[in-house]
Structures are given as structure tokens and as C-alpha cells.
Amino acid sequence: MADAHGNFKIESLSSNLLFRVVVAARGFEPLTLTKVDPTQAPLAVRLKPRGKDQLPASRTVFGRVLDARKQPVAGAEVSINGVTVGNSTGYGQQPAGTDLVAVSDSAGEFEIYVAKHFDSVGLEFNAPGLARTKFAGATPGGARRDFVLPAGAALVGRLVRGGKPVQGINVGVASEDRGVESFTGDFVVGTDPDGLFVFPNLPADREYQFYGVLDSLRGTGALSARVVRVGKEGSRTDLGVINLTPGWRVAGEVRVANARTLPVGSRLILGREGAWDFSVIDLPADGRFDLHNVPCEALDLRVGMAGYHAAANQPKLGRLASDRTGLVLLMEPGQ
């Protein structure tokens, strides 16, 4: 969030990636910047003022964000989760000019604009100290509608290895229900010096996949995905003490059909079926890889390589139940 002088800093980004940046503030038109490189010069963002009176009521949802005590919530992020026209609801990319996000002001009020005629939209709300919440059926125009966000439920646990707390590990949860209108998205927190992790405000009363984040566990151990149930609103679910133990080894090489070395920038992607997580491994020129502490769960391996696609009959990992070595992933020219 920008400070009193408009300055902002987002720390520790990947040096391998370019980013899409969305900047939003009440009273301004949201701005989207693409392919932003954090290693380059500071970003200069100029926002165009936009009064709520400038928004066509027929294409704008006017709302107010409240907490369970009916107090206004400032700084809530509001985004669109589906636009309904007639009997059809479209998800994903919306028409150019649609607000990707709106932010509530000190009165909890916000407006969000869709750049086409619509009958209703789904909205997702993110606010500190409150549960991420989705609402369906928000209609344009008319009186400002109240959206009440619950505080949610807590999930806690403690990671140990050999009886000692493990600090600095990231653990995640994502709702087991992946339906586009009900999926909560993922939540990731770290473990403190006592190995403790705390998810303070999860959407309550549902099942989640709970897992250790692969990239934070390298060299430490494995924490496979499993289903946990988070209790009712206001409750605390305690997963207890969880032991990290060694995982399996996955090793092999990636080959290309017409060359002895891989193109620069080739990557191996270890995907997880249940966990909302994956790991990207930069491949060396000889294509060899050797992964340790791979969790025992359903996994897949893919290769990202410019100008190549995977040959038929690639080896599959499936549910990992032992070490898998000697894997050969063959790539062929063509997209």
C-alpha cells in the first residue's frame, strides 16, 4: 500500500519473472501495467481521477463493506468473480476497461465498474482480519448494497523435525471445493521460531487441502497435502504437532530430439494435484534433474521449453510411493 507520499515497495520478488501490476485507489480509475520488471527503474504510476458520478449506474455496482459488527471496513479489496448476462456467466478475463479491483474507503464504500452491460456480478472481498468472502448476484445501480464480511475461523499447528521446531517453512491451505464460485483461493503463512503457524481468518466450516509449500521445504523435509476440516465461524482448529520427515527422490533428465543441449530458459515444473502449489526448477544445459524431499501424493512433471512440446508416452509420476529415478522426458520441436 502506498504511504503518505505515494511511495510503495513490494519486497523479495522472483528475479526470473515479469509481473502484472494493478494499482487502485478510491476516486481514481484503476490502472494495469503489464510485464513489469522489478529489477528496472522505480515504477512511476499516474492515476486518473474518477468520481463516482462519472460511472454509468447501469454498469457499476455500488457497495459498502462492513464487518460482523456492522462497522465499515476500510481498505478492503474488491474484485469481480464472474459477470452474468441473461443465463450466461463469464469468468476470467473481462472486457477491456473493466475494473480489476476496487478499494473501499474509510466509510467502507466502493464502486466497481464493468465495461459492458450486465445483469449481475459475483464479487470477492479481501480485507485484513476478515475472511475472504465471495458474494453472488450483485446488481448494477440502485441503492448502495452492504456486504458483511465474517471474521472466519482459525487453523493452527506446529511443525517439528526430530522433535525440534522448524522455523521459516511456508504452509498453505486451499479449499477442497474448487468450484469457481466457491473456491477460496489459497492462503500461505510461515512458521515462527517455535514452528507454529497460524491462519487466523479462513473462510469457516469447510474442508481444505493443507500442505507444505515445496520451495520453502527444499533440504528440510516433506509435508504432503492432506484434507483438514476447519470449524465453524469463530472457532479454532488445532492440527497439533506435525513431524516433517524425508520425502522421495525424483531424478532423471530432459532431452530434446534434435540437439544435445537444452534451450536456455528450459524449466521443469513439479505440479501437485491437491495442493495449490508447484515448483519450478531451472534446467541445466544437460537436462539433468535430481529432486529430493518430494511429498508422497499425486504429482506430475511438465517441461516448459521454448519451441518444443512433450513427446508422446512421457513417464508419469502419479501418486508417488517410492523413489523415481532414471526418468527421461523427451521434447520434440514444435509448439
Binding site: I10, R20, D177, F197, R236, L239
Partner: protein, 102 residues
């Protein structure tokens, strides 16, 4: 985007979990732990709680990030006035080199 509803079997998993703990660790279903793969996960279960039942909820520790570049910048209006409180959201858009993740 990963999508599609998955079967709900929470009650079955709970029963299986209890049975598995009693039998020494044989799980069924999505969270299944085969006897041969028990080495990858272990949990002492809720009989060893992470927190005392009446203890206040400690603050959450933010997720850790490996060292990397910082994205810095400034948000101003078209007139050049700072816009305090502007929200800056980022999303990984593309790898710097290569084809990408898919």
C-alpha cells in the same frame, strides 16, 4: 485454472483417520498414506495440541520469500499529487526468458 468439484468424503476420512491411527497408520482416500510411504508424513494428532486450548491466538507469521529484487515506485495523480493508501497488487505475468510454465 484448476477447477472442477471433487468428491466430499470428510466423514469417511475422519473414520479412516481414527482407524488408521489405531491400526498403526493405514489411510484411505485422497489423504491416503500407504504403509510403504509413511515416511513422508507423520502427525501426532490433536492429542498433542499446538496451542493450549484457552491460549490466545498468536499473531500469524507472514510467508517467507527467498531474497529477490524489490518492486518500488510511487503513485501520483495526473496532477502529480501523491495518492496515499493506493493499493498495489502484483501477479506473476511471464517468465523473463523461456516459454513459461505450461
Amino acid at each position: 485454472m484448476r477447477d472442477g468439484a471433487k468428491p466430499r468424503r470428510g466423514w469417511l476420512e475422519a473414520v479412516c483417520l481414527i482407524a488408521a491411527m489405531m491400526l498403526g497408520g493405514v489411510f484411505l482416500g485422497r489423504t491416503a498414506q500407504q504403509p510403504g510411504i509413511l515416511r513422508t508424513v507423520g502427525t501426532s494428532g490433536p492429542e498433542v495440541p499446538a496451542l493450549a486450548p484457552n491460549a490466545p491466538l498468536p499473531p500469524s507469521t507472514p510467508a517467507f520469500s527467498p531474497p529477490g529484487p524489490n518492486l518500488v515506485g510511487r503513485v501520483v495523480s495526473l496532477q502529480g499529487d501523491p495518492v496515499p493508501g493506493a493499493r498495489v497488487l502484483i501477479d506473476a505475468a511471464a517468465p523473463r526468458v523461456g516459454r513459461g510454465y505450461t
